[in-house]
């Protein structure tokens, strides 16, 4: 293969391109052909389609793995490769994975999202907050107040020129408010996975991580508040639902308390095990999600109150607790690092497969408007927050760009818009989904770039000396 490059006149291309890309593409093509070929042998397949889930997970892992290597060779984050592999293989492109199969892979999300929260909590140690409190506070404050305001105002201003929002001043204001709040949502999974992947441990990466985690919780509160206010604006005679906000705060508090309990269990597990620890932590992440869901059902049936416990917050608190209170924190971090890579590959490839490109084609003008407005608002608020914190030179122009990625939480909140506002909400949702799709593709490379530029060599930019290779999977 290398010889082929030499003869074809590509001898001058970087070494990684010559050694990695041809083999990775060969494996990727072979995997795709085999997967596609299975569609031509229906006679051999049982009606029960046993093994299909295993096959689909394997395909996502293998295709994502190869695409990640190719992405890395062309200086993009591996994560972008995973997402693109998912998009290409998914129902809206080649259709190697159909929509039904993609929906049946839901348990992967159950495992991955809570696991990623556990990793995020494990990264947050008290020292980080003590060292970076000023930047954390100003970045968060600037974004929480300015992003919804700027996006909402921008939408209303544009609405005067081109009617992009629902008609009627109340509905237009309500929609702008909700979309503004939704713009705060980012993808903590992308941030955590990318920081992990790039092994960035400088002050900029630490601040980005802290802000992401803080906003991950605040966005739920901000969105809930925006929805309550929007309902008052949209529905004549409606009153502000303060009880709803109270329930939400109680849900978050309960999730945090349960997360602390999970943290204690994790500490116990770490003390008892060494060999199977990575697998046990992954199983525990799956269990947290299932437990939170069943507990929510139990409260709904028992007390008649609709509550939604947050497995992400539970995982986050558990991780923070173990990182800051346990003597076994190194074993914890090490175990998470060992099992994380395949979870990231499968989760982000699946996220890519879920993206519906056809929606983007239908609603691109509004989607693009939302992306640009959100990007501008994030850049402006990030700049202001960073300047107020007196951060060093490159940070102000980078701060807001760290938050471009959107994924799981944003998709959930977008669906909530359609549910809460059945009229105009349902009309806006496709455009919002298309904007999230764009952000999911654009966000990771931009974040990877900010991490590279923000933590320059000489500023404690890289992880302390460790193994040169990515983490291993099992003991």
């Amino acid at each position: 293969m290398t010889r082929l490059f030499r003869y074809s006149g590509l001898g001058g291309v970087p070494d990684r391109l010559r050694t990695t890309v041809p083999w990775a593409l060969l494996l990727l093509a072979g995997t795709g052909l085999l997967m596609g070929g299975l569609r031509w042998v229906p006679a051999l397949v049982s009606p029960a389609r046993t093994g299909e889930i295993t096959l689909a997970i394997g395909f996502l892992l293998l295709a994502g793995w190869c695409a990640g290597l190719v992405a890395e060779a062309v200086r993009l984050p591996r994560l972008t490769g995973y997402i693109v592999a998912g998009i290409v293989a998914g129902p809206s492109a080649l259709g190697l994975l159909d929509a039904d199969l993609v929906s049946r892979l839901g348990p992967l999300d159950d495992l991955a999202l809570t696991f990623i929260a556990l990793v995020a909590g494990g990264e947050l140690h008290g020292e980080l907050i003590r060292k970076r409190w000023r930047s954390l506070a100003t970045w968060v404050a600037a974004q929480v107040f300015l992003v919804p305001l700027l996006v909402g105002a921008g939408l209303l201003a544009l609405h005067r020129l081109v009617p992009i929002l629902p008609t009627g001043s109340g509905a237009a204001l309500g929609a702008a408010l909700v979309l503004g709040a939704l713009s705060l949502a980012r993808s903590p999974a992308v941030t955590i996975a990318l920081i992990d992947e790039s092994r960035a441990r400088g002050p900029f990466a630490e601040t980005t991580l802290g802000v992401t985690i803080a906003l991950d919780t605040l966005v739920i509160l901000a969105f809930a508040a925006a929805v309550s206010v929007a309902q008052v604006l949209v529905t004549p005679g409606a009153e502000l639902d303060v009880a709803f906000l109270g329930i939400l705060a109680a849900e978050l508090a309960a999730s945090a308390v349960l997360g602390a309990g999970v943290g204690l269990v994790v500490m116990g597990i770490i003390r008892a095990f060494r060999v199977d620890l990575p697998v046990l932590l992954a199983a525990l992440a799956f269990l947290i999600t299932r437990l939170s869901r069943e507990l929510s059902h139990l409260v709904a049936h028992g007390a008649g109150v609709h509550v939604q416990l947050e497995p992400l917050l539970m995982g986050l608190v558990a991780g923070i607790l173990v990182q800051n209170l346990s003597r076994e924190r190194e074993a914890f971090t090490h175990a998470l690092e060992k099992i994380a890579p395949p979870i990231y590959v499968a989760f982000f490839a699946l996220a890519g497969a879920r993206l519906d490109i056809s929606v983007l084609a239908r609603t691109w003008p509004l989607a693009l408007t939302l992306v640009l407005l959100r990007g501008g608002a994030l850049f402006g608020s990030g700049w202001l927050g960073s300047v107020l914190a007196r951060d060093p030179a490159p940070w102000p122009r980078l701060a807001g760009l760290t938050a471009l990625s959107q994924a799981g939480v944003s998709l959930g909140l977008a669906a909530e818009i359609g549910r809460r506002f059945p009229g105009w909400g349902e009309v806006l949702v496709p455009a919002v989904l298309a904007a999230i799709t764009l952000n999911q593709v654009i966000g990771p490379p931009v974040l990877a770039w900010t991490l590279r530029v923000g933590d320059r060599p000489g500023e404690n930019a890289t992880r302390e000396p460790g193994p040169p290779e990515g983490p291993s999977l099992a003991d």
Binding site: T19, L44, E52, G58, L61, L62, D276, L291, E294, L298
Partner: protein, 414 residues
């Protein structure tokens, strides 16, 4: 909710108990062996499964199934990687033939009576033969785990008989796996090539072999993709195993057999063998755990044959006794014909009585390849046999070792 909390708690108790109990309290070697081989997870699966506590319900079992499938593929890979043909050529003839004789002893002793017994039910002849072959293949298996455990004892560490037994146990599983793979190819009724219904067995064998070679090729290619390091290679290896294991299951081929062919393929490609072997060694443990957990959960004494729980257990007990006889007789035959051991003890073959998790893997693979009249019976009987033989094996091995005469240097192994 209660189910999940109970599941979490029980798993934790059993796992913590499993890791701690043997170390802290003196327990019989047979019980300790269950924790060494991982059969504790088989017991956990039985306890939590629908037959007893019902905590591992259908939904949870479905979620665990992919991991069990991958575990099967890893089992095949593990053994296939040992078949490095140039290396095998250097092994003296006796050491190559002896494991096959030992395996055949167990297989024939169980297979022949099982064939006549299973024929009593009005089932398809093909199904009867396949069930017989799977039972025979499972009976042929012997795990080296109890021998490894006893080898830790300084008194027996240098024993030539122990060395010989280890060799027989390790190599004896290869013919069992091959027999099983062939049996599952025999099970297929639809042609691979539409409209061509001749040579069905060969068609399926060809497909399984092709898939195995592709799997092996993919594994061999992984270290070349950008010369990736160990961490990323592990992810690639895991991905390939999920993909080909899933594809095998999707097409009703044994993931275990496909893994075996893949392992043989990699073992005979110069270069990547060592790295892939290290990869499989690091990955297979957790998946074997899931495999045993699922086997325990899906195992049932309620078979479509209407034997009842007592009938199934009685049949399983008879098969255990028959297997003991077969292993014992094969041992006597080997002891009489070999010069590799100076004073082979009587009942030498009884040192290979522990069947091990591989036998469960075969029975589970058979069950997962599609429902049949004998699938549940085969799994239940095999699980029973594995648990019983593991518990008695340390005692039997010790009896054999105590009868051992003084050995010679270099005696007992290739």
């Amino acid at each position: 909710m209660i189910r999940l909390a109970a599941l979490a708690l029980l798993l934790l108790i059993v796992l913590v108990g499993g890791r701690r109990t043997p170390a802290r309290f003196p327990v019989p070697a047979g019980i300790r062996l269950l924790f060494v081989t991982g059969s504790e997870f088989l017991v956990v699966g039985i306890l939590l499964g629908p037959q007893l506590l019902g905590i591992l319900d259908r939904e949870v079992i479905e979620a665990l199934r992919p991991f069990a499938t991958v575990g099967l593929a890893f089992v095949g890979l593990h053994y296939g990687l040992q078949l490095e043909i140039p290396l095998l050529r250097t092994i003296p003839l006796f050491y190559s033939v002896a494991p096959a004789v030992q395996a055949a002893g167990g297989a024939l002793a169980v297979g022949i009576p099982a064939w006549f017994w299973l024929r009593a039910w009005p089932a398809d002849a093909r199904e009867t033969l396949v069930a017989t072959l799977v039972l025979a293949a499972a009976a042929a298996c012997s795990t080296p785990a109890p021998l490894d455990m006893l080898a830790l004892d300084r008194k027996y560490a240098g024993s030539p008989v122990l060395r010989m037994l280890r060799h027989l146990a390790e190599m004896g599983e290869l013919p069992a796996l091959a027999l099983f793979g062939l049996a599952l190819c025999w099970r297929q009724e639809a042609p691979v090539i539409p409209g061509w219904s001749s040579f069905l067995f060969l068609q399926w064998l060809g497909l399984a072999a092709l898939m195995g070679v592709l799997f092996g090729g993919a594994l061999a290619l992984l270290p070349r993709v950008g010369k990736v390091g160990t961490g990323r290679l592990l992810v690639g290896g895991l991905a390939a195993t999920f993909f080909f294991g899933g594809m095998a299951r999707y097409l009703h081929i044994s993931p275990l057999f496909v893994g075996l062919v893949a392992g043989i393929t990699v073992a005979n490609i110069p270069g990547p063998r060592r790295r892939v072997q290290a990869l499989v060694h690091r990955l297979e443990g957790p998946f074997m755990m899931f495999l045993l957990l699922v086997a325990g959960a899906v195992g049932t004494l309620d078979t479509p044959l209407g034997l009842g729980a007592a009938g199934v257990l009685a049949a399983a007990a008879v098969l255990v006794v028959l297997r003991l006889l077969g292993k014992g007789l094969a041992g006597i035959l080997l002891a009489r014909t070999t010069h590799a051991l100076r004073n082979p003890p009587a009942g030498f073959g009884l040192g290979l009585v522990a069947q091990g998790g591989i036998a469960v893997a075969l029975a589970l693979d058979y069950l997962e390849s599609g429902p049949g009249p004998f699938t549940s019976l085969v799994l239940a009987a095999t699980m029973f046999a594995v648990l019983v033989t593991e518990m008695v094996s340390p005692w039997m091995i010790l009896r054999v070792l105590r009868q051992e005469g003084p050995g010679r240097a270099g005696e007992g192994g290739p």
